[in-house]
Symmetry: C2
Subunit: 304 residues, 2 copies
């Protein structure tokens, strides 16, 4: 059975572990912080690889950024990674086969193969954290687009309230329905709605209200928090309706930090009551925090 | 070479002609009006088929409504077609092989095989007329979804100005960026903006201003018409940005009656200046008014 060294390269940390072609872990998951400098990053990759190289068949990366269709490098500029990351030729890191996949695609593949979407050949995994990412599986294949940059569903424009996203564009779905979006909605409602004056957070500056405040407020029946969360939820639902109308998938899997705050049954009912396609199932991700590593390992074993 | 009787079944009229497997017409295109009654419609289909049956290999329909993945019948309710249309078993109409395809999918396939998107394995055809329809080709295959109902991009929610669509949902792209949408925008601007008082249409009731009025007004440098058209164009662009960010296709082909009013180069530049994926080409459809018949004939020849 093939053995893969899987490396999840994110803006904050690098995770790595040995995984077999069934997606089972053969080692503990190790962690190092991502350096700010591309030369340093290359050295760290080489050190990690050297440690396992003799023992493995493939090295598989799950990475931030858009990956080319040859799965050899990152094509886009990736603000969270060191400058020059998109000129890194991953294959030069080792004599073993190297496979590179976008992290959202890899996570979606893990859900499809061993997670919440097992056996569903049309399924989308939406990762909702600081931003929103998407991995789209259509007829059992990843949607990549002509250049590998497809699936940027967080940049879908909805709502039209003119909110400026962290990417400086206006009305991106992720500026409303991500964790950052919830915080922004909390700030806007606090500034514009008198309901805030009666809130348990009324002595806080609107800018300082966090996602966790809102979740706590919900549990404490705070009306302001409920209003903020309802707006956020509606923005989330709007995007999910759009996706369902276009893709008509069997399921949408919700992954990422915000997943634990939503009632998937409520969201599923709301989405299905407004789509023009056939009903979709909305489920939480099951493949866990290491789905990026698992997914890229499984894809690499199929491809190489 | 295979010979196909292609029938385009729309809400107003039925078109039919003989087409070969290269998409070439072997007969003139005939036209009859669509009856209001399902039994009458069946009889017309049978009469058309009987006329050509001995001479052909396949009967291929391009039809309004969502078609199942087996390409045997219409799954959805289709308000423009006679009641009971979605229980019609097309295969019972003839002893020859019968193939059924959604008309927007068929049009996209025609553009891909013999039209504006030839050789582009990732391409989307957007039909902009009374409504908005989409046919999506990904890696050389039609996107159908789990039930065949995918591609309903006209129901994508954008803008958030709360406009009610003909489907009674709010903020559908087609309620803004279709021909009907242009008319609605004309009405809204006339009601809400003083610019209308100086317009060449100021003596008209806002409800009576037509798409053609606005196009005429544009040519006559009428400021009100320009404002209306600019809003419409921006709503069109917003949807095209969303599609490009998700699909990263080589091209988007604009088909349908509204196509002739847009400057594709201007739209392409606007879309490409705001996407996060790689540049898309925006082109007018080339396969003509009979692209539905051509597309379903070509698909039928591949599948049967």
């Amino acid at each position: 059975m093939k053995k893969v060294l899987a490396i999840d390269a994110g803006g904050t940390k690098l995770l790595y572990a040995l995984i077999n072609e069934k997606g089972e872990f053969l080692s503990d998951v190790e962690k190092v912080f991502t350096p700010k400098n591309i030369e340093e990053l290359k050295e760290i990759f080489k050190t990690i690889i050297k440690k396992y190289e003799e023992d493995i068949d493939i090295i598989a990366f799950a990475t931030a950024g858009a990956v080319n269709n040859e799965n050899t490098k990152v094509e886009s500029s990736t603000p969270n990674m060191p400058e020059g990351y998109n000129s890194l030729e991953f294959s030069n890191l080792s004599n073993k086969s190297v496979y590179v996949e976008n992290d959202a695609n890899a996570a979606a593949w893990a859900e499809y193969k061993i997670g919440a979407a097992m056996g569903e050949d049309n399924t989308i995994t939406i990762t909702i954290g600081t931003g929103i990412g998407g991995g789209f599986i259509i007829n059992g294949k990843l949607l990549r687009g002509k250049s590998g940059r497809g699936g940027e569903v967080g940049s879908m424009k909805i709502a039209g309230r003119g909110r400026v996203c962290t990417c400086l564009r206006k009305d991106c779905w992720e500026s409303y329905a991500s964790g950052t979006g919830l915080q922004k909605t909390a700030e806007e409602v606090a500034f514009n709605d008198e309901i805030f004056n009666l809130s348990i957070f009324s002595d806080k500056s609107p800018k300082d209200i966090t996602t966790y405040d809102i979740i706590n407020g919900l549990n404490m029946k705070d009306e302001y928090s409920k209003k903020v969360f309802d707006i956020w939820k509606q923005d989330l639902i709007t995007g999910l309706i759009n996706i369902t109308n276009i893709f008509d998938t069997e399921s949408i899997i919700i992954s990422g930090g915000m997943g634990k705050f939503i009632d998937t049954e409520e969201i599923e009912n709301a989405v299905n009551s407004e789509i023009v396609t056939s009903p979709v199932k909305i489920k939480l991700a099951k493949a866990g925090n290491y789905s990026g590593m698992i997914g890229t390992a499984l894809l690499a074993c199929e491809k190489i």
